[in-house]
Each structure stands twice: as C-alpha cells, then as structure tokens.
C-alpha cells in the first residue's frame, strides 16, 4: 500500500458522492485519473485490505437484532461449549477473553425474539448461565482509522 492508496482509503472512509459520476468526482479531488482510482480500489478489494466498498447497514433498522452475550465457561469445558455455541448459525462471532466471564459471542438474528430463543437453547445445551447484554444506546461509531 502506497501513499495514494492511503489517501484513497482515508478520503473514502468519510463517504462517497451520490452523483452521476462519483468516481470521477473523487478522482478529481485526489488529483488522479478516474481509471487509476477504479484500478486501485479493485486491487485493494482483491488483496483484502478493504472488506467492502459500499453501504454498511444498521441491521436493527432492517428488522434484525444483535446482542452480545457472555458466559463463564470452566477451562476444561471450553472446547465443548465452543462447539455447542458455534453450532448455531445465529452466532456471528465468538471470542475468548481474559476475564472471569471468558466467552463472548455475538448473536445476529432476523428478529429480536430469536435472540432469547437461541440463548435459551445454548443455556440448556451447555448447562451454563448466559449473560445477555443487548445494545441500549449507540454512540458515534468512528470507523475512520487513519492509515
């Protein structure tokens, strides 16, 4: 990644024009050819520096639901509980963290009711108590990391 790639990423983290020729508008702003900008973006997606170029949705507005859930898993049961939790397709990710509550998974479902359903199933299968911590309020998300 060179200086131009960095300029492109930093600028496009802040938004993208809704105009007839948006790449041309951005290219002019960066002082490069439109073709060069498109090539760079294509390469950055190809080599996985960027995960996506486009919209990031608020899943709740689309009717979906998310929740963060913590579990206190005994070390000797960690593998088996991981297998149980990860067997549910609603589990979007699952991290081990250095705390007494050591398993943290995120549920992404198509309705809020499903969150409780999946958690109940996980409690039953694992025999462990789950701590459901849905988002109550979201503050500004600064996903703009200078690169």
């Amino acid at each position: 990644m060179d200086a131009l790639d960095r300029k492109i990423i930093n600028l496009l983290q802040t938004g993208f024009p809704l105009t007839e020729a948006p790449f041309l508008d951005v290219a002019v702003q960066l002082g490069v050819e439109e073709k060069e900008l498109l090539k760079r973006l294509s390469d950055l997606l190809e080599n996985k520096t960027l995960s996506r170029f486009g919209p990031m949705y608020d899943a709740q507005k689309l009717g979906g639901a998310f929740s963060l859930v913590a579990v206190r898993v005994p070390e000797d049961k960690y593998e088996i509980v991981t297998a149980i939790v990860n067997s549910f397709p609603e589990v979007a990710h699952n991290y081990k963290r250095d705390h007494d509550l050591n398993m943290w998974y995120v549920l992404a479902t198509d309705s809020p009711e499903k969150i409780d359903e999946v958690n109940a199933k996980i409690e039953k299968k694992s025999g462990l108590k789950v701590y459901n911590m849905p988002k109550l309020e979201e503050y500004y998300i600064g996903l703009n990391l200078p690169v």
Partner: protein, 173 residues
Amino acid sequence: MDMKVKYRLPSLPQQAVLDDTDQALITLIQTGLPLSPTPYADIAKELQLNEEDVIQRIQKLNDDNVIKRFGVVVRHHELGYKANAMTVWNIPDDAVSELGACMGQFDFVTLCYRRPRRLPDWPYNLFTMIHGKDRDDVLANIELLAKRCNLDENEHKVLFSTRRFKQRGAIYR
C-alpha cells in the same frame, strides 16, 4: 419548580419503513457498489429504475440511518491495527450518554455502546472497542481516552481477546 429529567431510557432504533424496491436495492448493493464510472446508473438498469430514483433512495436510506456508513469498509488487521481490546466502563447512569459521546469521537474507538449491567457479576455499562498497533498502543489509547474524557475515577476493565473462534459478516435479506 425546576424539574430535570436526569435519566431516561433511550429509544431503540425502530425498524425502517421500506418498500419492495428499497429491499431489492439494499440486497443488490450489500456486497458492494459496482466499480464502474456510473455505478448508480448500473444499479438502476439492474433494478429497472432510473438513475435519479436510485440516488434518491440511497440518500433516503442514508438520512434515515438505515445506511450507517457509505464508502470503504477497512479491515483493521490488514491496515496495521493488529491489536484491539473490548474495554468496559462502570459509569453512573446519568453520565453515560455524555461520556459515550466523548469516547466515540476518538478514531481508535470503533464501537461505543451502552449495555445493561448484570449485577452482581457484571457492573459495566459502557462498552468500547479500542484499536491499536499492538497491545501497548491499545493500553496507551485507553489511558489517553480516560484522561481526555475525565474517566480516571471510573472503574474499567480491559478484555483482550485471546482466541477468535468464529467470524462471519452479517447477512441481510
């Protein structure tokens, strides 16, 4: 009499009112915009709409915050932000909104949510994801954050992840 509402439950985001065309548009562009000189015209052609309509619908989705961000979505790890920690704070309920807003303005804070406490096991009600080049950088950022938002007195915990077991992107209709 001076009546002040010190604490009220925040309203959760409501499901947006979307028609079939919005749904089709949301689905079509969820994996990304076409990398062509005229992406909106291309989308319009695909959906049998006109370009102006596509632009207006995306603008509306953006204004209604159905679209939270529009542009590049970076992979932190590939960009050298190799460490992150879920950092949780125990903040008085009547101060959490103000402090959340303060923390959320820092570039290295990528998530900032209020969540319920689960007493007595879990007293923390403000969750932040803090990024850095390495662990020390993350810890330095947390210290900076605490200082700048006057959080030294507040109880907090830093939970580095030790293993990642599963990660998939959210899938929408």
